[in-house]
Each structure stands twice: as C-alpha cells, then as structure tokens.
Amino acid sequence: MAKTLTFALMDPPFENGRSTTALRLIDIAVNRGYNVNVFAYEGAVYLPFAKQAQHPNVVHGRNAEEENHPLPRAWIAALMKEAASKGPKIDWINCGLCVDERGAGEAIEGVRRGSPADFWTFAQNSDNTLVIGTK
C-alpha cells in the first residue's frame, strides 16, 4: 500500500526558494509512489492561483514567450498531471479563510478549499508530515 506524506506550506510564490524546494520534494515523493497531501496556509494559497501570468522581461531583452517565466500554478498543475499518470494522488487544500482575506479564490483545477481541521485529518492519516513555515 502506498505511503502518504503531508506538507504544510506557508510561503507565497516568488518570495523565496522554500516553496520551490517544497514542490521539488513533492515531485520526488510522487515519483517514488507516495500519495501527497498539501495544506496551503496563509500566503501559500497563492501558489496555485489561476491568474498568475507570464510577462516579458525588458532587462533580459526577451518577450513573454522567450522569457517563458515560471509560474507556480503551472508547476503544481504539472505535478498533478504527473501524479495522475503515474498513480499517486496529490490532494491540495487551500485554507479557505486565507483565500478569503487575500481574494485568492481562483485556483487551478484540482485545488480544494478547506480548513485547519482538514490539515489535522491529513496529518492523522499520513505516514509523516513536513511543515515548511514562513521565516
């Protein structure tokens, strides 16, 4: 039976490397057959925000297409697609109150709205939980 890992994330996108590292850990977990739960708390609810958009970068001398700016929402969608094709499940819950106070309600497909009670349920039903808090 596949093991399950839970991740609690707090950082918003584009601010530091912790969220990217978390997604890399999730990628490794999925590729090793782990089911993954994610509870996005506070600024992390913006990680799967559907309205993230690429832009040109004048400093780099590249248009939007050439720049191909990374978007966390696209990384998360890719992780979910990867999981779906390989078997493990990614269950991503955004903290609902954190979403409301930020107006971050438009998340990509596959993201659910929930509460800290869901996080506790995730943790109880997982083999281990990694909290990656904002510092």
Partner: protein, 126 residues
C-alpha cells in the same frame, strides 16, 4: 497522534491578522480534537508576556479596533487543554522575568528540548 508546534518566527503579520497565525491554527485544530501543545522559542517567547499592548494602530481615520492579544490567546489555548512551553534560555537572553508571563506556562531549558520532543509523535516547526 500527539504533536508539538514550535513557534519561533514572532510577530509575523500579527497586526494584520489580529493574532499569531500558528497560535490561531492551533486553536482551530483543537476544535477538531487535535492533541497538540505549543513551544515558544526565540523571539516568540515574548508572546507570553502579560503587559504587551498592540493597540492604537491607525492610518488616517482607519483605526484598528481588535488589536492582537497574543498572551490572552495563549491563555485561551491553555484553557482548551494545550500545554504552553517556553524556552527559559530565550527568556533569560531577552531579560524577561518569568513573573512577567501569563500563569501556567511550562518552562523548559534549551538543553532538554530533545527530551521534550521525544514525548511527541511529531514536531512541527512553523
């Protein structure tokens, strides 16, 4: 499952949230029957100081009416059955006397944290 929540990054958005987000989520999880305790370390030991007062914030005619009451939030969390641990070395380093804190906290020396962690199934360092 028994979990110890370590709060170290202090006063992180507390004026905007009107609480500490980790103390808040502990309250919320307690409501879901979570068996959790809290350890204050580093600058977060100040959360247990009774005399702190964050009231008075205003921008033009926009006044904050519900400022954070962090020490009181800890008292309430303790009332729900959570233990509140405070790293006593962190208090001493900051010149905070134990008598300045809310009643009923458990003091733990830094040297005994590993032993404390052993009492829990998981330790979440926020």
């Amino acid at each position: 499952m028994k979990v110890l929540n370590i709060v170290e990054a202090a006063y992180r958005g507390t004026l905007e949230e009107q609480d500490d987000t980790i103390v808040w989520i502990c309250h919320a999880m307690k409501g879901a029957n979570a068996d959790i305790d809290v350890l204050l370390r580093g600058n977060a030991v100040n959360y247990a100081v009774k005399a702190q007062d964050a009231s008075g914030l205003s921008f033009g005619d926009a006044k904050q009416t519900q400022p954070p009451q962090l020490a009181n939030d800890l008292v309430k969390l303790k009332g729900k059955g959570a233990k509140i641990f405070v790293v006593e070395d962190a208090l001493r380093e900051r010149g905070i006397e134990p008598g300045e804190l809310i009643e009923g906290v458990d003091f733990v020396p830094r040297a005994k944290l590993a032993k404390l962690f052993g009492d829990y199934d998981q330790v979440w360092h926020w």
